[in-house]
């Protein structure tokens, strides 16, 4: 399982990277953590003629809390994000989700941006991005643009990024509601740390009177891309999130998802599990 031969470069800046991407076109691929790309190359399913290693680009590393959002530079290691104090304080949902991303070893190399750009339908970081209405910044030789998470994931392994674009940053808005904010992340995989058959994220803001002031629910692995559960959110908004409310919301989730069917799980299985995981994620968020 040796990769097809390729040229390799290690640009030192985003500008240099984008310049090369513009020249090289679709035959070039960005190498970040490599935890997804390199296995594909070993199996000769991915055959880039040019690999652009972005691991030496300092401006693509870092986590900062600015203007009500946590901005994570795209090549930040998943392990670094998981251990980061800013993430722990302001993005409890991301911290919880990151525990499910791969293993200790893969998180040492895998990056936040790499996971998003890869767009596996069950990717945990993508689910969090959609739950929190994150904003992705993409840069190319011709400029920079911001893409909302809702517009970012197009299909399995397909995003809004053009071949000559590089994801440089993702900004996760931090909720500033009064009262308690809780996050829950639930996942089902065959073995622990396998890619998820189904995953659900929930973030809620509970008012002092115990009612739900704000809620975001998202499911992954149950459709071609991660999916916000708007109908379920509406059902739960303003309620006290009691058992009856959660059961109704789960039923709405069950009907809203449009699962993939493959040899790991059937459509029906993914539907049932997605619904149950949303319930559990909300319960987890309430308890948090």
């Amino acid at each position: 399982m040796k990769a097809v031969d390729f040229d390799y470069e290690r640009p030192r800046s985003v500008a240099a990277l984008c310049g090369r991407l513009a020249e090289a076109g679709a035959d070039a691929k960005i190498l970040a953590g490599g935890q997804t790309l390199v296995p594909l190359m070993a199996m000769r399913l991915a055959r880039p003629s040019l690999l652009l290693d972005i691991n030496a680009i300092a401006e693509l590393q870092g986590i900062a809390f600015t203007a009500g959002a946590v901005a994570i530079r795209a090549c930040t290691r998943q392990a670094a994000a998981l251990a980061d104090e800013t993430v722990r304080l302001h993005l409890p949902l991301l911290e919880k989700a990151l525990r499910f991303v791969g293993h200790v070893q893969t998180r040492n190399r895998g990056t936040i941006g790499g996971s998003l750009a890869n767009a596996d339908p069950a990717a945990e970081i993508a689910i969090v991005a959609l739950t929190l209405d994150a904003a992705m910044t993409a840069r190319s030789a011709s400029g920079e643009r911001t893409i909302a998470a809702a517009d970012f994931f197009h299909a399995p392994m397909e995003t809004a990024l053009a071949p000559e674009e590089c994801l440089t940053e993702v900004r996760f808005p931090v909720w500033s509601e009064e009262g308690r904010i809780g996050a829950g992340f639930q996942e089902v995989s065959v073995r622990q740390s396998d890619f998820a058959l189904s995953a659900a994220a929930a973030q809620i803001a509970l008012g002092h009177d115990g009612t739900c002031r704000r809620i975001a629910l998202c499911v992954g692995g149950a459709s071609a891309t991660p999916q916000r559960m708007k109908a379920a959110e509406e059902r739960l908004l303003g309620t006290r999130l009691e058992a009856r409310d959660l059961a109704d919301a789960a039923a709405l989730v069950h009907d809203a998802v449009n699962p993939l069917e493959d040899h790991h799980a059937s459509r029906r299985y993914r539907r049932r599990v997605a619904a149950a995981l949303v319930e559990r994620a909300v319960a987890e968020a309430v308890a948090a």
Partner: protein, 795 residues
């Protein structure tokens, strides 16, 4: 002989295995670690079709790629080598390392490229243009037996490779007389023990010596297939092997590499990558359908059993069909069932061929039997443990002859079961389960009792293939003491983690009363080794153990004879202690080990007349209780010794996701005297992990197009440290009366009973819902679907 562990000096005591050290330092010598100058590398082109005629191969572009030395097809191999033999009598089923004229399974190796690097070889494979004409294919074993099924081998005229019907005892009468019956199907889907190291071979032809050197873990047949005299091939058994568990036979790999090495006059290395290994390495495991019926009475006593075992061996049959035969030696499990009808069927399909897997068919058979025991308990409303107690062979009955002709040597099954239940705090587990259920969870306790036949008397070979009238199953060991007094022993096969070196040195040390850490055990090569039947069938503790002990006893006898002559005393006047020999009545008069060694090597004038100089001995042991062919009605003694396991498992299932979490795992284990407890325990833990994989995660799944879906580790899921819980082993010892130290074999322990126990736990968890599953693996989606269907039916 309940739990009488004899007292030994070294046997049974904690000892750091000698082999471990080099692996910890990173200085193991696995095949891929060997570097010979000028080595060439092989990559394979594999069939994308389950069945296809190979119409045309266009390889000019591949040959022209710089660095490529050869492109070899099946036609060339078939002309230059003899076919690989099946264990069955199937001369028309021609099998070569590469497909000849026709591909018969997805992943079958069709063409080999040899190049200066593996990467270049893979590049060249992509340049080869192979035109296929797809043919009809069959991947379902029952369909393969049906009329009009596509034939995997047209020349055979059938896909049925083997079918026998055995009747041992009054089965009809017992079924007629029994007031109750059950019938069920148990399905063990295809999995294998998949080592972390793939199969690899390095071959070099020495033209000056006319000798083919092979570094790999393979046995026999190689020289014959390459049309070389047996003494023109030297297989190096001192290569470290990264796990085998039965599967690393590698014959086609070695024939291919050996042929290429000779043809190209350069060392050739074939190391499977993981994709080649899973699809085309021909090491798939059991793929079984059992249809079983049992006849029993109101108290749960099982009188008779009918079992039809259908095994899907894939596109070629090596030794795999024999895996239907080995379980005959324990066909009633640990129970006193009076009569058995057994119908083994081996069928070919267009799938990757099977190879031997740990237990050689015993684990699926145990799963089938234990499924029945639980169903009977449920049918009668009887406790599953009580049912087993009533059916377990009692200890007074040993040695116990089973209907199919094997005698179980010794055992105390009730004691082991009790120990396991006590260690598991069974009443506590029941409370824990019931509390979990009360809280709304699905929770269950699983039980399995089963046998681990050991010793490798492969009398299933003549039983299933009368043309193969083999009754010799042997193992050799040679020991020498050099003139410095150092002890060196040689064994004649390779090891893959079983600690054979420590096994042999411990036993030799025991007999000679010398510290095993001072005894070096080496692996002879195939030219210098004594005969060996390789580490299969949990046989090495018995066979290598016996050979080593016998050789050591000969050495000790020689030392005593030398001392007797030199001290001018009869043998009964001597005391042997730690290698020194003294006059029993006057210990001041003695000869030390070093003095004895010196006399043997350099003081011929002091040796008894007619004594060979030096200190060396060899022994080749035949398997105890072996040496007999089957009777006309298919009865024969199979393995000599029978170890026993009782598993107790507690599991919780997620009602929605169907995930199974094993929360408590206890295994009661009796393999007689353990030579090295840490080694035995280690293999048992590992066997249980294998069983967890087969029960819950692992499956070589094929789709409707005959494509192998789980062809990488992304989809063929091996259990990690998260999936294997902490395990408690509880030992018991009923020594075997027929081995040198009471040892029974144990290399297959754990795997033989774990899938049955886990299925038992899952079914206990599902029982409040009235659900039952008898198919492995019980992956989350399978259990989840079962639960979903039940819920929908309720509505």
């Amino acid at each position: 002989m309940a739990n009488e562990v004899p007292a030994f000096r070294y046997i049974g005591r904690k000892r750091r295995p000698a082999e471990d050290r080099r692996f910890l330092a990173g200085s193991g010598r696995f095949v891929a670690d060997l570097a010979l100058p000028g080595t060439l590398h092989v990559a394979l082109a594999a069939s994308p079709y389950p069945a296809a005629r190979i119409v045309r191969i266009e390889a000019d572009a591949a040959r022209a790629l710089p660095g490529v030395r050869a492109v070899v097809t099946g036609a060339e191999i078939a002309a230059a080598t003899d076919p690989l033999m099946s264990g069955l009598d199937l001369p028309k089923m021609l099998r070569y390392p590469l497909a000849v004229g026709q591909a018969r399974y997805v992943g079958e190796w069709v063409l080999a490229v040899v190049a200066e690097t593996r990467a270049i070889a893979e590049d060249a494979v992509e340049l080869v243009d192979i035109e296929y004409e797809p043919l009809p294919y069959v991947v379902d074993p029952e369909a393969a037996l049906g009329p009009g099924a596509p034939l995997v081998h047209a020349e055979l005229g059938t896909n049925q490779l083997l079918r026998r019907q055995f009747v041992w005892g009054p089965v009809e009468a017992d079924f007629a007389a029994a007031p109750r019956h059950i019938a069920y199907r148990a399905r063990w889907h295809r999995s294998a023990t998949v080592p972390i190291e793939t199969f690899g071979v390095l071959a070099r032809w020495e033209p000056g010596a006319r000798l083919l050197e092979i570094w790999a873990s393979i046995q026999d047949q190689l020289a014959r297939a390459l049309r070389l005299p047996g003494n023109a091939v030297r297989t190096h058994f001192d290569v470290d092997v990264g796990g085998s568990y039965g599967g690393k036979r590698g014959l086609k790999h070695a024939v291919l590499a050996g042929y290429l090495a000779r043809r190209l006059n350069a060392p050739v290395r074939l190391i499977e990558d993981r994709l080649e290994n899973l699809r085309g390495g021909d090491a798939h495991g059991p793929d079984r359908i059992f249809d079983v019926s049992m006849a029993f009475d109101e108290t749960g006593l099982v009188r008779a059993m009918r079992m039809r075992a259908l095994d899907d061996v894939g596109a070629y049959a090596g030794r795999a069909p024999f895996q239907l035969g080995k379980p005959i030696g324990a066909i009633v499990g640990p129970y006193h069932i009076n009569s058995v009808a057994y119908e083994p069927i081996s069928v070919a399909t267009n799938k990757t061929p099977e190879e031997a897997v740990r237990g050689f068919g015993q684990s699926p058979t145990n799963f089938a039997i234990e499924t029945g025991m639980d169903l009977i308990a449920c049918d009668l409303g009887l406790d599953r443990i009580e049912l087993r107690r009533r059916n377990l062979i009692p200890r007074e009955a040993f040695p116990y002859l089973i209907p199919s002709g094997s005698t179980y040597d010794s055992g105390d099954y009730h004691a082991v079961l009790d120990k396991a239940l006590a260690a598991a705090d069974y009443p506590g587990l029941v409370r824990r389960r019931d509390a979990a259920r009360a809280a709304g969870m699905l929770a269950g306790i699983g039980i399995s009792c089963c046998l681990e036949p050991s010793g490798g008397n492969s009398s299933f070979e003549p039983l299933l293939n009368p043309k193969r009238d083999a009754t010799t199953w042997m193992e050799g060991c040679q020991i020498k003491v050099d003139l410095s007094g150092a002890v060196i022993a040689a064994m004649g096969t390779s090891s893959s983690g079983q600690g054979h070196e420590t096994l042999a040195s411990t036993i030799i040390g025991e007999v000679l009363e010398r510290d095993p850490d001072t005894i070096r055990v080496v692996h002879a090569d195939s030219l210098s080794a004594l005969p060996s039947n390789s580490p299969v069938g949990s046989r090495m503790a018995i066979m290598l153990g016996t050979a080593a002990a016998d050789a050591a006893k000969k050495l000790k006898a020689k030392l005593l004879a030398i001392a007797s002559h030199d001290l001018r005393l009869p043998l009964d006047g001597l005391a042997y202690r730690g290698g020194d020999i003294s006059v029993a009545s006057d210990p001041g008069r003695h000869l030390t080990w070093d003095q004895l060694v010196d006399i043997a090597h350099s003081k011929f004038h002091r040796l008894p007349p007619g004594t060979e100089p030096g200190l060396q001995a060899l022994a080749v042991a035949q398997v105890p209780t072996g040496g007999m062919l089957p009777t006309a009605d298919g009865r024969v003694q199979m393995y000599p010794c029978y170890a026993f396991e009782a598993h107790v498992v507690y599991a919780e299932l997620d009602r929605v996701s169907g995930q199974t979490r094993l929360k408590r795992y206890v295994c009661g284990h009796d393999c007689g005297v353990m030579i090295n407890p840490d080694i035995v325990h280690g293999m048992t833990y590992g066997g249980i992990a294998h069983g967890i994989g087969a029960a819950l995660y692992e499956r070589f799944a094929y789709d409707g197009n005959g494509q192998l879906i789980s062809g990488s580790f992304m989809d063929y899921l091996l259990p990690s440290a998260h999936e294997v819980p902490d395990i408690t082993i509880v030992d018991h010892c009923t020594p075997s009366p027929i081995t040198s130290f009471g040892q029974k074999g144990s290399g297959e322990a754990g795997y033989l009973g774990a899938p049955a126990a886990i299925a038992s736990a899952v079914n206990d968890a599902l029982s409040p819902l009235g659900l039952h599953i008898a198919t492995l693996p019980m992956t989350p989606d399978v259990i989840g679907e079962l639960l979903a269907e039940a819920e929908e039916r309720k509505r």
